[in-house]
């Protein structure tokens, strides 16, 4: 396919178009993504998450600059929430990455969550793969960490850097919410602010209570805006990567992610099948029966499921 060829040869324009397609029409994009798949798997994917204002974009910006100096290429997927009321989104992460915008070794894509509750864009996984195929060595996924985003980001990232800062008033909240548990590396940014030491102590204490596998997440202090602590963070990322490789956890994680992806995609597929195949007068008839108490919903669903499974396995169902 011409498109695939172009992407693996580094054509940013085609890559950008394919990302759009993945966002707008996943079914159509899949036909291309499946061809692209064999060219992926080379990039290290790092999730950067944490509460708003903690400095995720600035840290991503600084990490990228350091990596560029080492000759590595970088892809960045910056995700901001889509307004549930208007469907629109203001994507402003690039403001803090202005210096990167003309660097040909860096590709940045801003995305809205588009109604996905998990804090990731539904097209995140596809985008990561496209940037991977485009030849980026490291891919950062930057997303606001509230609630479920963490769970989601684990599905796409090889490792997660969790960023927080002192004085947000919700330090404890972050810890309580269990968000910390997904962080492989914990960063307290804006470390020159009051309350930094206290926060670090609290986090360390929590880690003592929650021994997470063999890897104890290091807690780092950074002042990203002044590029302080970034080299150390990069070092920890390398350490963690080494650990992941040596312990076999990387392989394990990726397999886990693949399982989750399969499950997600099947769910999506079935949702589609269901909504297209039950969308006829049939459903109305059953609903009427249920309302009249001629049938109960539980039995109806059981019957319906049996019919659907049967007809699908017979291949009799239209796509």
């Amino acid at each position: 396919m011409e498109m695939i060829e172009k992407i693996i040869n580094g054509d940013r324009k085609v890559a950008a178009k394919l990302i759009t397609l993945a966002e707008n029409d996943f079914n159509q994009a899949q036909n291309i993504l499946k061809e692209l798949y064999s060219y992926t798997g080379n990039a290290l994917v790092i999730g950067i998450t944490g509460p708003p204002g903690a400095g995720k974009s600035t840290i991503t910006d600084q990490l990228t600059k350091s990596l560029r100096k080492q000759g590595k290429t970088v892809g960045i997927v910056a995700i901001d929430p889509t307004s549930p009321f208007t469907g629109g989104a203001l994507l402003g992460d690039r403001i803090r990455m202005q210096d990167l915008s003309t660097d040909q070794g860096v590709f940045i894509r801003s995305m809205g969550t588009r109604g996905n509750l998990g804090g990731l864009s539904p097209a995140t996984q596809s985008t990561v793969r496209i940037l991977d195929a485009l030849g980026k060595d490291i891919i950062f996924i930057e997303t606001v960490g509230v609630g479920q985003a963490e769970v989601e980001i684990v599905k796409v990232a090889d490792m997660v850097v969790l960023i927080t800062m002192p004085g947000m008033g919700d330090d404890i909240q972050i810890i309580k919410a269990g968000i910390m548990e997904i962080g492989d590396i914990l960063v307290v940014n804006k470390a020159d602010k009051e309350g930094c030491e206290r926060l670090v102590t609290e986090i360390e204490m929590m880690l003592d209570f929650n021994p997470k596998s063999k890897w104890r997440p290091p807690v780092l202090k950074t002042i990203a805006i002044d590029n302080i602590g970034i080299q150390e963070l990069l070092q920890e990322i390398n350490n963690h990567l080494k650990y992941l490789n040596e312990s076999g956890e990387l392989e394990q994680r990726r397999q886990e992610s693949a399982k989750k992806e399969i499950f997600d995609l099947i769910q999506e597929k079935w949702k589609e099948i269901l909504s297209s195949s039950i969308n006829n007068g049939f459903l109305n008839k059953i609903a009427a029966k249920i309302v009249k108490r001629e049938e109960d919903p539980y039995t109806a669903v059981k019957k319906l499921s049996n019919i659907l499974i049967h007809s699908y396995t017979q291949g009799g169902m239209n796509k």
Partner: protein, 559 residues
Amino acid sequence: MFNAEEINKIKKSRLKWESNTLKNTLPFFSERKDKFVTGSGKEVARLYTPEDLEEFDYNTQLNFPGQYPYTRGVQSTMYRGRLWTMRQYAGFGTAEESNKRYKYLLEQGQTGLSVAFDLPTQIGYDSDHSMALGEVGKVGVAIDSLKDMEMLFDGIPLDKVSTSMTINAPANILLAMYIVVAEKQGVSLNKLKGTIQNDILKEYIARGTYIFPPAPSMRLITNIFEFCFREMPLWNTISISGYHIREAGATAVQEVAFTLADGIAYVEAAINIGLKVDDFAPRLSFFFNAHNDLLEEVAKFRAARRLWAKIMKERFGAKNEKSLMLRFHTQTAGCTLTAQQSDNNIIRVAMQALAAVLGGTQSLHTNSRDEAMALPSEGSVRIALRTQQVLAYETGVTETIDPLAGSYYIEFLTNDIEKQALKYIEKIDKLGGASRAIEQGFMQQEIQNSAYRYQEEIEEGKRIVVGVNKFRIKEKPPKGLLKVDPEVEHHQLMKIKKLKESRDNHKVKATLNALEKAAQTEANLMPFILDCVRSYATLGEICTILRGIFGEYKESIKL
């Protein structure tokens, strides 16, 4: 002003008026709107009475002109003694052209100069820098080196005029150039009168012409405080500006609050480097916006004066009377000018200027009618200046001091703005002061929200803008707009090239090296910058040195 018994009486008669007269009238003459609001969107009552000033105390809240808390003005004679300084912000193209415009304005009766610099100068780029492309000489005069500054003030004796310079991030460099021009004219520094804007915090908040991060920027500012305290006693070392904050969409309360919060940050910074408050505070000056809502604006100026006096006295323990006085320059609100039926802008400007005068401003710039479309033409600038002269000599508002004092509405609004602004300042204190609040995007976001609300009101027709969303006509595009000669850029480039060939480049290098070393210590950089300027190092060269040591600021906004 009124005792409890009187207030009670008034209350009774108000209730009577409401239940009889008003109640009978409303069904026949209903009010135009459900809700009346000020220019800043604050709800306005139908009527103000002594009841709204229950706690009012003349002696502590107003007192007399020239007396604490200066609500009625900073001088005891105000405009009966001397009118405000009529100071039109001007400058465009080359130093030669701007020099001509200044001479014209002085001939026309303007009493002070106000220099507008182009954006590359304001951001520390020489005219030949790639970022300067298309910007040279556009919104002000292009100054690359002392050479340009010499030309800018050619034939203008610096001991006879007062000069205001709108320059912030590279303020030290332009001040140094001005000083060296004065030296060459044989004018001693202690005779120099004028103001340098030198207010970096509002650049981060609203205006955008920053270069360095906050910490080194604050150092550069306090370097000027210290230098001028010793050498230039008549010079205003900073003009703490609410003007641009308002232009960015802030309300009157936000304008006062954020400006004074910035002021507090500067005072603290100066005290932190060991200056005594009464050594530098008398030379702090302010710069406000005069917006559309006449009465709200008058109250705003009075409230700002009172609040600042209290802050200086109570928070910083200032003893010198001059430290307590908020002296300010005013410019009419550029954001209220319309491209549609642009002659209407003359009327807007006149009303806004009236607010500034009734509010007791020390100097005033009136915008020109064509500024929503281009730089002002000479004819438009003249009308703008004449507007001030009509106010000064024909309207009679100058003949008595603070003429609106005692109006129930004005005093109520003055109290209210002071109170609301103080609340904001307390909040900013909690965030760790102005610098911190800016870093967190607090002020920026508050302003953005106000700006968006204002725009919504206009688009929903709740706020009428004459000629824009009502009373529209079909009109032809205006003629005679000023265009900056595209040759300016070329001209500047030639000048820089020639300069670099003719100056003593060893000396330039030596002075720049000395500056680089000094920047890494705690030293006051003014003497070093003066040496660079004297050797004809360019603005860009000096800023490159400082960028290398200080780094560059990154925008901090929340969307």
